[in-house]
Symmetry: C2
């Protein structure tokens, strides 16, 4: 697996991710998603929403405000407790998270002049309305989950869903981390995808296990992440919050080690109870059949899109040695010498082997020569035909070898090359066909121009 620096460089060079406000020197913990990044992010969101909302009868979606009534965060415990221990150095005033401390010395200046750790609250504060006083203080949500809990009754009343059912949300969240880092791994602003799944008390262990399996299958099947790079583990009881009955963590094997990419928590009725008490509104569910009123228990599968984005890129990134001329894969038997007995020149190929569903661009249409009007015209016409059906692009800004390299590196599953034979009727080899090249096998097939759209739709659907 490649290291983080290689990935950061690819992301910047190809327009997946830029440092936010880069021309002003950036701002720590904030990132912008470029033309390819936004498409990949949208494809991840779509794959999640389809799996957890559209395809299921027991789930609905929601989209709540980032700024809520501040009492939400008092009731949830975030105002009092959402903090990290912060240590400051008396000499250089460097600040860092206490758990990053390796010795008694300041990691910045080396002096033994560290203050006692104190709690630093990670909620971003702001002020709503035209009076900037305590009454108007509000917070940027540090998670999307609470927007679901406070809407539990509204959603249940309007959808008439019966337990067990769940509510899903995708949205921006903010945490004023003391230290950010590892590229987009720990950000101050990020996108969450969270589910709160409401069950009858007593059924939570069964549903906890079912969601663990469902979510693991999503990573493998919907995203195509390799099974050997994923694992699930149950948190130790001692690491659980007091209200938690248990948490599974799905972990991915990053270059820097195994790290959490999704948590599946069994949260009891803790959140609904807190909001019910603080608001004075009953959040109880009424069971039509048993005529019981009760607070549901909750299973919460929760993940951040940024880490998912990293997983997708790390898992798809491949470096291969290929024959420079044909850019076809070398089999072991013929590496070194080619059929003519001549030394084959090898070169490194980088391919982002994204699943078809996740690839930002599905097909690139490449004219072999840009000084021949017939070739350019046909390639442009093909692009215009394909675009309403799939994200496709036309590129004539370099030699064909370089264009293939670009498309491999951004994960485009298919390149369609238009050459003299394709377009120039007076050419003696004219066949009215174009070449479709497969990113992964690098195999090339000739296809009639009028069949390209259908062939690509079939290949992409497969």
């Amino acid at each position: 697996m490649i290291d983080m620096d290689t990935l950061v460089s690819l992301c910047k060079r190809r327009g997946f991710i830029f440092q936010s406000s880069e021309i002003y020197g950036g701002i720590g913990g904030f990132w912008d998603y470029g033309p390819l990044g936004v498409e990949l992010k949208n494809n991840i969101k779509r794959a999640w929403w389809k799996a957890v909302v559209q395809d299921r009868e027991d789930m609905v979606g929601i989209d709540t405000a980032i700024i809520m009534n501040p009492n939400v965060w008092r009731a949830s415990g975030h105002v009092a407790e959402f903090s990290d221990p912060l240590v400051e150095c008396k000499t250089c005033h460097f600040r860092f998270r206490a758990d990053m401390l390796k010795s008694e010395n300041c990691p910045n200046c080396g002096n033994k002049t560290l203050m006692e750790p104190r709690q630093f609250n990670m909620l971003f504060r702001t002020f709503v309305g035209s009076v900037e006083d305590d009454a108007a203080v509000a917070y940027l949500r540090p998670e999307t989950a609470q927007g679901i809990f406070v809407n539990f009754k509204n959603v249940q009343d309007t959808t008439r869903k019966k337990i067990p059912f769940g509510i899903a949300q995708i949205g921006r969240a903010f945490r004023n981390e003391i230290v950010t880092g590892n590229f987009i791994f720990r950000d101050r602003e990020f996108d969450q995808m969270e589910i709160e799944y409401f069950v009858k008390p007593g059924a939570e262990d069964e549903w906890h296990a079912r969601w663990r399996d469902d979510r693991m299958n999503w990573w493998k099947n919907a995203l195509g992440i390799r099974a050997e790079n994923l694992r699930v583990r149950a948190l130790d009881k001692k690491d659980l919050a007091h209200y938690s009955k248990g948490t599974f963590e799905i972990e991915y094997q990053f270059p820097m080690g195994w790290s959490e990419v999704e948590g599946i928590a069994s949260r009891t009725d803790y959140d609904l109870k807190r909001h019910s008490e603080a608001s004075g509104k009953s959040l109880e569910y009424f069971d039509d059949e048993t005529k019981e009123h009760f607070l549901p228990y909750v299973i919460e599968p929760s993940m951040g899109i940024e880490r998912c984005f990293l997983v997708v890129l790390f898992d798809a990134y491949q470096e291969e040695q290929v024959r420079a001329s044909a850019r076809t894969p070398l089999s072991k038997s013929d590496s070194g010498e080619n059929v003519e007995g001549e030394r084959a020149r090898e070169e490194k190929r980088v391919a982002l082997k994204l699943s078809h569903a996740l690839a930002p661009i599905k097909a690139a249409i490449l004219p072999l020569a840009r000084n021949r009007a017939e070739i350019v015209e046909l390639a442009r016409k093909l692009t215009a035909d394909l675009k309403p059906m799939m994200p496709a692009l036309y590129d004539d800004s370099a030699s064909i070898g370089r264009l293939y390299r670009r498309q491999d590196e951004i994960g485009t599953p298919f390149c369609v090359t238009v050459d003299h034979q394709s377009a120039i009727a007076s050419d003696e080899k004219y066949d009215g066909k174009v070449t479709i090249r497969d990113r992964d096998s690098m195999e090339q097939v000739r296809v009639s121009v009028d069949q390209v759209k259908q062939v690509l739709i079939e290949k992409l659907g497969a």
Copy 2:
């Protein structure tokens, strides 16, 4: 057209929009989108992204951070100038926008004790990092546009797009409005869809007109808004910002009058120039052919999703008198008496005549009797078959008349009803067919169970 209160009530009752943090008494200017609202919002976003990014060769997308380096907002002029005149009453301390003042009296207490208007800045402020001082102050973006401008070079370098080309963004924005109101018409937190389109100086008037027409066509054709409710007007020169060459506003005829729903501004090179000067980084474009370096001029089509959401609902909402028994439309000739000469009972039907692309649910599967296992089983099986292809739902929680009413009111284009004939093989009229009912015509056709999916896909595609 209905009034705002009727629409607010529908939105709450059916789960389109809830007041944010409602159980805590809400928070002014913030709204949550429920299960139907999030789907409608996503469908609007998708229709826009397809039209302005996917279908075009001269556009790419981006997704930038809400919190940027604060120098972005100093350079753009927002820190100094993004303000409304605020008036406060010395007696009751009520605060309001100066342009809401109808007389010299306080609109709250009636006293003539108003202070002089002062400028109130509408940027939400927060603090990034662990030191809460001026150095760390940051702002929530009041528009997505600046995230595009500061990334102009990054996007152009990585995509190698040639002028004219544009960058599109969908994202959350925040304005600390002194007064909010008219439901979601003026919010403090909202979603924007913005385009910055970069052209060669001199070409801006042509592109300004083209974008005006493109955008107007989108409202009519992609969203299906009635032409008679839309108009475009050019702002008077005296109402333009000093850097602006002109602005077109697309307006919709709301119950409260014609109001702006999209602006198409000709912004010259104002923004790129400000950021170039403030950051010290050149944002010039190099024209390969003419070998010129220059700052592009910009055309900016910009809209908020919330107002678009309102337009879509107002425009789709229809009240009709229908015959209660059949719930078929009454032709003028037979209203009053039906064929048997008996007085036909009429009732009001509310139908949300959303375009197929925008409807949150495409098909509802309704069992005519929920105490017959065969009927319920078939309806559930049909639902499971349809769901991977389209948003579909199963509902058996009321009588068929009431279920139709519900689906009409949320804009579901097709209801599929499963009855005894459909499902019970021992029934003497058994035909293995179900009824597909069209929301708009209320026509019902019988279709074989195994053809339902195909028929619906065709009807929805049409």
